[in-house]
Symmetry: C2
Amino acid sequence: MKLPVAFRAAGIAVGIKSQEALDLGLITAEVPLYWALTSTRNQVVAPCVSRNRARYSSGRTVHGVIVNSGNANCANGDQGIWDNEDFAGMAASALGLPQVQNMLTASTGIIGHRLPVARIRSGLSDLAEQLGDDSEDFAKAILTTDTCRKQVAVTLRSGARILGIAKGSGMIHPNMATMLAFVMTDASISQTALRELWPSLVERSFNQITVDGDTSPNDMALLLSSHQHNSDPGEFAEALDAVCRQLAEKIAGDGEGATKLLVVEVKGGRSGEGARAAARQVARSLLVKTAMHGNDPNWGRILTALGSSGAILDQSKVTIRLQDVLVYQGAPKEFEATELAAALDRDRVTIAIDLAAGEYTGSAWGCDLTADYVRINADYHT
Amino acid sequence: MKLPVAFRAAGIAVGIKSQEALDLGLITAEVPLYWALTSTRNQVVAPCVSRNRARYSSGRTVHGVIVNSGNANCANGDQGIWDNEDFAGMAASALGLPQVQNMLTASTGIIGHRLPVARIRSGLSDLAEQLGDDSEDFAKAILTTDTCRKQVAVTLRSGARILGIAKGSGMIHPNMATMLAFVMTDASISQTALRELWPSLVERSFNQITVDGDTSPNDMALLLSSHQHNSDPGEFAEALDAVCRQLAEKIAGDGEGATKLLVVEVKGGRSGEGARAAARQVARSLLVKTAMHGNDPNWGRILTALGSSGAILDQSKVTIRLQDVLVYQGAPKEFEATELAAALDRDRVTIAIDLAAGEYTGSAWGCDLTADYVRINADYHT
């Protein structure tokens, strides 16, 4: 896809992955970029996350982000910290940037193996040469076990654009862990406003993908703005929210071994966090995931997941709908089982819940659990 | 196994399950029983749990518990409440008990189907006739997808005995949900002391089986005492703890589709709850479970699970041992991969962790995740 104004991106293969796949990507711009960052809640953090956080608190603009896939550079002790500094330095230098601080880093892949810095160094001038206004190679270079690129773009009335690119996280963090999202825009919104907005949008989108509470040490969602087009802040916020939610859906639907996307829509929550927690708990329940794989309208498993989510609910009034068919309303409801099983045999299944306890809503995205998932993750070897 | 003094038990088949398996069990005694109860934290609760809780707060003794498998009598609206009262009443009447309140109930099985009270009624006189001092039929009658009976017995110096009997919860709550444990003793410990002791022991044992946060609406751990032998309270508490932990281990090892038991031992926690949370998070991580299934010493997945557990840890000092082999100590450690893979190819795998943040310990029990688990749970139909 075409990048927003003033952005440049590229992706090449330098042999970090054993396959001949693209594994080194770069986003940069002709102007200093405003940015907002949300990163993992895991207490174990990779050096790229620690470093970006340190940059973040300075409040300064950046000139881009260098990303590799195939190696997370995580849990490598002090060596990993030095290698990550080196990674940023090489990229800044290849772009002729005076300050290494202006270059952010992101890594995804295997944990506990040293980052192959020599290989990366040898590819950097090639990467810089390939910079262009198209996102495809970058979107490919950040993938690990993903089966496809994940990109969403929207255009605002002002002509400003938002382009989001994401990878992973497999089903429940994958072999190679990590959810990465890079959202670029040329809408002119102040950095302060971007930083206020971003965490709440990430909370409702990327943090609602079923990840089993197991965040990766490398998770990162980065918003970059080249501030070229004056735009309505309300319209911008809504469009950015839509981009994040669509990317979240794409990530969940491409879960390892998955055959279908599960969309869980909760209403009637006593609080927003309660509604989101209820949605997450349903989307991540192994029993719900296996039932949906088997096209089984097993609402008992859904009700049980809701009850263990911590969300306040009224057990005598809760309703559950599968593909718009009411299956539970404080007590079991009659439904045509064969028809419903057929309706569940789709690549997108919607589970709609009313907690009957308030006015708040929340969504979560997940996928079914298949024997293929087990094979992918049990056969993989470190 | 032989029951503690003054207890009687039986188990019969009345056709609640489709197979000709035992599905109705009874424990009673010649004397009023002291008791302690811990039940599910799920907000959705089955009528048997609500009723037992109400009995519990009265502080009165009981005469026993009637248990069925194959039907959870859960989420059946008001009908379920009436049927559960009926269930207790029938049992009390078959035993000639004057007060229905003296009979506790427990149900496990499918959710949202009416309890077949007529079948149960027709079997009750037979059940009462079969009461004896042996536990085998009762232990069988409470099973659902379990592949074997789960019983543990110890004898104290005083001659007093403790006999624990449990069922399920499959891997991460099973098709038919529910972990049930019934622990009988003839040690003479006051009901007040039993009730003080029980929750902390359950916390460290049954609540540390990997259940993915997804408690079932019917979970229950019941301690019954016929108070016949004066015993040392300290010795009793230790023995009871051991019984609970061994039962927890048996439940985890019999997880649906599992080929091996995972024992996670955490030390160095800043708090007991932190150490237990860290152990649980490792035991429940799908990636750890699949790695252990594949005999893969993938410590990165273990470290990641620890980091997302909420437990305080010192990332630069954490150690991880698999089957006693040190694989991580603040940074990757060299190990003989082929030898370790062979050591992981056992029916019991120990993951030992030092969080390096304090003095507290915690254990959790889980099992590997297999393609069979998916098949069992996806092919099952409501």
